[in-house]
């Protein structure tokens, strides 16, 4: 089975809004060994001018994941989940994610390539807040390992 080249350019429907929870940010910060007071302590975050705790830089993957699930679960994608490894990742922020944000993500497949036995799929997820303002663009390249 190989990745369907017709995925290129496909735009998936926006996923239902993701409400960023304070405890989720703290859980994520702890899981990535962050001890930043801004991520863990609402008082420290407020003192620095934020409404609530501030998410670590890679937190956007939690929301992006919902869009990647759409891609991986597409019946015609040709992607075998157990063969997927992450090739590269980028996050480009307009502002930090803060607890209380309601983020809506939309995924576009921007590249599909086959190299050797492996396939590479690049997906760009744009996350906007409740006002429709851009927060972060998360770009992932997934490598689908071929049969050995």
């Amino acid at each position: 089975m190989s990745v369907n080249p017709a995925l290129l350019g496909r735009v998936f429907p926006p996923v239902s809004p993701y409400l960023v929870g304070r405890e989720k940010i703290r859980e994520f910060a702890r899981a990535t060994r962050s001890s930043a007071p801004l991520a863990l302590d609402p008082e420290a975050a407020r003192a620095a001018g934020f409404r609530d705790v501030v998410a670590p830089p890679t937190f956007a993957i939690v929301v992006q994941e919902k869009t990647l699930e759409q891609l991986l679960e597409s019946p015609d994608s040709g992607i075998d989940f157990a063969r997927v490894v992450h090739g590269d990742q980028r996050f480009s922020y307009t502002r930090p994610i803060v607890a209380g944000d309601e983020l809506t993500a939309t995924l576009t497949v921007t590249s599909v390539k086959t190299l050797g036995g492996h396939s590479m799929v690049t997906a760009e997820s744009v996350l906007v807040d409740g006002d429709g303002e851009h927060v972060v663009t998360a770009v992932s390249t997934l490598v689908v390992r071929g049969d050995e």
């Binding site: 994520f28 990535t32 962050s34 501030v54 090739g87 922020y93």
Partner: protein, 143 residues
Amino acid sequence: MSAALEVGQVVADVTVTLSRDSLVRYAGASGDFNPIHYRDDVAASVGLPGVIAHGMLTMGTAVAPVVDWLGGPEAPGAGGWVVDYQAKFTRPVVVDPTDGAEVSLTATVAETDPEAKTARVDLTVKFADKTVLGKAQVRVAWA
């Protein structure tokens, strides 16, 4: 951001041990339940040398000391934050069920722009003496 920040300056230099427990914890926190990160049989069946860390766990853990530095007393000013962060996953981090995996991280200032109040910090992230993140670059900005 003051002029105190210099190219070549090391802002973080740490070693972190990732255990199978770290992987389970990260799976729950992130929602990434790909079984190659917790099942030896599945990892082996797709040709991996063992259960591997989520690339995003390595990437997330690697930037944490930079975020800590930005919020700490060594930072060149208040209000610094990560505007852009990218990395390539060049080698898997194989996590031994008993000993885990020791990952070393060095964060070095690669570029500064005092007018724009931004800087680029490059991360060197190694496991078993080999680089596991390629082109790992953090762009930071000060308000």
